[in-house]
Symmetry: C2
Subunit: 140 residues, 2 copies
DNA sequence: GTGATTGCAAATCTTTTGCACTAAA
DNA sequence: TTTAGTGCAAAAGATTTGCAATCAC
């Protein structure tokens, strides 16, 4: 594939994290990062790739999502048993999650303060504090 | 099975939530609730049942865990993709989760305050605020 | 060319389901 | 009895892996 000049930033971002900018990685990166903040599942992204006439196998989508996550380009969000979401927003932030629809929505991290946490167990340190606000349709 | 008089509370608890106190439900309830706060996976609980010479199928363990959860006797905690933990502590509280070991640890809810949350999206209301503190071995 | 990456299909792992059988009431 | 609950094995999902073919460099 010709590396189109329309995505120099993506190409550079992949190179910067040591991932060879292959056809499918670039195509997936474009789907992921060219449309603002997104929360996708592997299945979802694969469907979108196929719809965009990008030939990628589901296995490659999984591999790519995990490589991007390991490289710090994505964040994995676990809110539902048996399904992983990947978040293109890697800033410190939190989530609303609607169980009835299965939808994630970002909560900017700046405003939220979690206070009163005890010290982590001896020998461990805090990696990240994650707040998940589970929401549902209004009762009435 | 003879309903032993040693577990009148469990029997009553099951009846109270409309679950017929069968041999395996009682046995699993005893494993779950007779040992203080616990975080178990289905696989884990099944192994423990077998080790205690309780004949239960894994399918029944799954069904029972979900029935208990639906009945409010347990809480499901989702922290790892592809694996559910069930928590015998149903009070309002949060968790430390160590990814390297896969261990959950309770954080009492009283002390922790989450402030600065935005309003939930229109038409929805907050069901629960969950804080997961991801921890790992100390860097140095 | 050479080694990383991909596709595919098969394997794996967790969880759910269908149905004949068993047990609680 | 009557109906809910169970076991088993098979099915269903999500995710991973092995290996030959392919592509970036």
């Amino acid at each position: 594939m010709e590396l189109t000049p329309s995505c120099p930033d993506l190409l550079g971002r992949l190179r910067a994290v040591g991932l060879r900018p292959t056809r499918q990685r670039l195509a997936l990166a474009r789907l992921l990062f060219d449309a603002g903040d997104r929360h996708v599942t592997a299945e979802h992204l694969h469907g979108q790739a196929l719809a965009s006439a990008i030939r990628v196998s589901l296995a490659t989508v999984y591999n790519t999502l995990h490589q991007f996550t390991a490289a710090g380009l994505l964040r994995e969000v676990v809110v539902e048993p048996g399904r992983s979401y990947f978040d293109t927003n890697i800033d410190d932030h939190h989530h609303f999650f609607c169980e009835s629809i299965g939808t994630l929505q970002d909560i900017p991290g700046q405003g939220v303060v979690v206070s009163g946490l005890p010290l982590p167990p001896p020998g461990t340190e805090i990696r990240r504090v994650e707040v998940i606000v589970r929401i549902g349709p209004e009762s009435r």
